[in-house]
Each structure stands twice: as C-alpha cells, then as structure tokens.
Symmetry: C2
Subunit: 302 residues, 2 copies
C-alpha cells in the first residue's frame, strides 16, 4: 500500500522562547511524509526552488520517501518564519514567501492514482484539481486552515464532499460550520460529504467522529516540547500511515490509527523541525503506543 | 464503609455570561457529599449560621448525607460570590464573607474516627487538628488552594505528610513544588509523604500518579456547561466515594475511581449549584461510565 501526499515543502525559520533555528526543512508534505514513512510507503508531489538544499532531498530519500515527483523550478522555495510564545501553542507568522509554491500545479503520475491520498493544507482549487486526476484512491483525506475557510469556503466544501476524512483544528471546524458544539459541527461535516472527522486539539489531544463513533484521546504527555511546528501534519502522517498500511478502515482500527497520529506528533515536537522524526526506531513507536495505552486504559464495571 | 468530609458549607451567588443565581447552596462539603452520596455513605462535619436555609439541610438529608454534625452557630453562614467569563474556567471572586466559618473548630465524633477522610480546602492548621482527632482512617485525602500554598506552605506540607491522597489543581502543584514538570512535581509530593497524587486539569481532564502508575483521562465531553462551581469537589466526591465503597486501593481500582470522579464532575457542571447532583439516578452514572469507556478505549497492537 502507499500514500501520495500533495502539499508544501518549505524552508523554515523557527523562533521559540528558548532557541532559534534558521533555514531548516519544513512544510506540510515534509512532516507528513517523514511521520508516515515509519508505517507505510509514501510519495510526495511538491515543488521547490533552486535554493532548495539537496541535503533535504537526501533526508527524505533516506527514509524511503519517494521524492521523484518533487519538481525543482526556477525561483525560490516556499519560506516561512514563525515565532512561538511561552505556551508553545499557535505561532505568530512573521514572514511568508510563497516563491515557486505560488504557481504549484501538481501533476499526479499514473502509478499514484489509486493511492491513499492526503491533500495537505493548500488552496482548495488545487485540491480539487488533484482529485480530478485520481482514479480510485483507497481513501481521501484533507487538511485546511482558517485562511481557506475565509477566502474559499464553497470550494473547500466541494473538496470535503469528495473526501472520506477531514482533519482540522477544533477551532477551525467551528469557524467553518458556524457551530459552537463539536457534535453539531461533526453533523454538518457529514452533511458536506466526509464520513470521518478528526479534530486536532493541540495540548488537549484529539477527537474523532464517524456516524457510529465518538473517540477522544489526550495529548501524549511530554516533559519537554521544543518546537510544535509540523505537529498537525505529523499527526496526519501517523494516522493515515497506519490506516493505509493496514487497509482496514473499521471503527476499531480508526481508533488505533488516531493513537498512532498522537504518537508521531509527540515525536515531532521533541526537536526543531523534522530532526526527531529522522531518528525514531520502530521499537520506540511501539513502546510509546503501549505506554499510552497503559496511561489511558481502565477496566470495565463489574 | 463511610467517608467523613470536613469542609465549607456556603451560600453562593454565581454569575455566568448566560445567567445568574443568588443564595444557592454551595461549599466544598456540599458538593463533595452530594457527589459521593451516590456511591457510599457520607457524613459532613461543618458549620453554618442562623441564616442557613433549613431547606438546604433537607436536601442533604434526603440524599442520605449524615448532617448530624453540621453545627448551627450565631452569625452568618459562609457567603461566596463569583463570576465566570465566556471560557467558563476559573471564576473571579467578587465577594467572600467567612462568617461563622472563620472560627470553625471541627470536632470529630468517636464513630467517624475510622472513616475514610476528606479534608476539603480549608486552613491547613484545621486539617492538622482534624487529623489528630482521627484514630485509624482507611484513607486520608486532602485538597487545598493557592491561598494556603502562599500563606501556610509548611503547615500544608505537614498535612500532605500525614495523608495518602493529595488532590489539587495542576497549576497549584507547580506553585507548591516550584517544578514546571508535573512528573518532577509528583516526585516531590511523594517525598512530602502522600502516595497518590490527583491533578485536576479543568477542561483538560485529570491525571493521577502513584509510584507505579501514571494515568490520564480527558474531561467528559459536554454539550452545555452551565456552572463550573463545585466541579473539583464533585470530582473528589466521585473519586473517594468509589474508592471507599470498594475498599480496594489498587492501581486498577484507582483508575476506575478517577473515572467516577470525572463523571460526577460532569454532572455537577450541568446546572447551577448542586441542582444536577440531586437528580441523578444510578443508571445514568453507569451509562456515563460505559460511554466514557467507549470514547477512550482502543485495542492493543497485534
């Protein structure tokens, strides 16, 4: 099985109250693919500029991420600079330079057209264009952000209509649906057409809805969060990586997949950029899964 | 089995962005005893003034709370007035009038001296005095607040030294121990002498530590929170009520007890004051336990 991810590949400057890193690998497709690379085969469709460090491509390649559809174009790579407060929650964006990402026109190779598909946070019109190129994807998932909800709500709803899984921040699903109750919001998303809703809740963890399931997990407890950048995409990578590899989209398996999302996100935030995602071994993932289970498992009533 | 609770019985004015109630029953002992009354026998040691509405005593009595040690004294009952913001988290205290509670000198009847004991949030010197009067309590638990941490830290640590269970808000355990990491904070609490630490985390849920256990649960999801007053004491009531009734203080049973705490707190916040705690039936508690288990349970790895 394999996943195709369509999203950004970026060069980030990240500032936290404790440290600062410049020109590190970022972007939704980078975090997503590295996180899911531990669980399934993954291939990126993306674009970078001439300034993109070949070292970054090697990093992805070494994790068996298929980089053959990362196009190098004249111009600069997508650059993002953000700063975090002491609460290490939402960053303040200091600078965004789209570069070659502005004219990103993803082309889906024939071999990818039946993959599981992750449409990372990009223009809904691009997401729709990618969907048109697919043939029989096993599962379609999408992410988005407040910018697209405000600018292209109707186009976004079209994407949701054609998708199976909608992954979004809890606050953004309220913005999109106009519902303060997450249960009412979930109902609306199902009316739009998706059948699985995953709400990312930052330090609160995550919740998931299907028509037969409501499931919630706390965030994996960490002593030391270094850089939250990419947590959401690593979450999506763990979640979809596990689902794609198992090929089992039942409620029972969706729950385990959500835990894998939680765990891959917990690794991602333990270092700046993608660093921690490069050094995980399979034993650590399994161990964190079992620890999380022990932390949250309680028995039945007699 | 039975629990003795030593704490405040108050008359509250509560203001939320949506409504306002005046002269309703409040106080830590009231919430605690009503929540635990569904799970075990509970008796209050407390004091009220001449202005205390007999209706409130009847309310407690009807739930089989032993009120024979609520002393009525000349003067006014403890009054509290608080206001909540839209986030319905910590209230702003607008007025506190201690009244007869200022000279509260609890006397423990002979029959109560081997009970499970809950020392609600009161002056650590009073808590120590109560402890001196006990004989062989099955389990000793205490709550406190930032005021006592700041004013009487050393006396508070004496109480922790003599207790089994310390129940406290997460932010306050950081204030008390000077540790930002909750794991380091737990270690310090164990050094003080308690062997079970329960951290209340508001909308984040709760965590529990023993020397062999780390356990965490999200808050029970609610469509409609009306009044958070008393959530913490109802939590303690559910937790200790379940433990006392079972007489089993193993890690496995502590986990279930924490879930009962979560569930009794979820009922408490569904109405102003203690109202919702008066109308629960046993089936609803069991049903919420099972629902919560389904919401959080996931299987093992193959």
């Amino acid at each position: 099985m394999s996943i195709t991810v369509v999203g950004s590949i970026a060069i980030d400057n990240v500032i936290t109250p404790f440290d600062k890193k410049e020109n590190i690998l970022g972007g939704s497709a980078s975090f997503f693919s590295l996180a899911s690379s531990y669980l399934t085969d993954v291939r990126i469709i993306g674009v970078v500029g001439r300034d993109f460090d070949e070292r970054f491509l090697n990093i992805l390649n070494e994790k068996n991420v298929d980089i053959s559809n990362i196009v190098v174009k004249d111009g600069r790579t997508f650059h993002w600079e953000g700063s975090y407060n002491y609460d290490l929650s939402d960053p303040v964006t200091l600078n965004t330079e789209l570069g070659v990402f502005m004219d990103f026109k993803p082309s889906v190779p024939h071999l990818f057209k039946n993959d599981t598909l992750f449409l990372a946070n990009i223009d809904p019109d691009i997401q729709l264009d990618v969907l048109k190129q697919m043939k029989a994807p096993k599962l379609i998932a999408l992410d988005t952000m407040n910018f697209w909800i405000e600018k292209k709500k109707n186009r976004l709803i079209k994407v949701i209509e054609k998708s199976d899984v909608f992954i979004i921040n809890e606050s953004e699903v309220r913005l999109l649906t106009g519902e303060s109750s997450i249960f009412s919001a979930a109902k609306k998303i199902f009316e739009f057409g998706a059948r699985i809703l995953v709400l990312k809740r930052g330090a609160y963890g995550a919740t998931m809805f299907t028509d037969s399931l409501f499931f919630m997990i706390p965030a994996y407890p960490l002593e030391n969060v270094i850089d939250p950048t990419g947590a959401g995409d690593s979450f999506a990578g763990g979640f979809l990586g596990y689902l794609d590899n198992s090929g089992d989209f039942s409620d029972v398996n969706l729950k385990k997949a959500l835990v894998f999302g939680n765990i891959m996100a917990s690794f991602a935030v333990e270092s700046f950029g993608v660093d921690r995602l490069l050094s995980i071994n399979a034993g650590e993932i399994k161990s964190r899964f079992n620890k999380f289970r022990n932390m949250t498992y309680f028995g039945e009533l007699e």
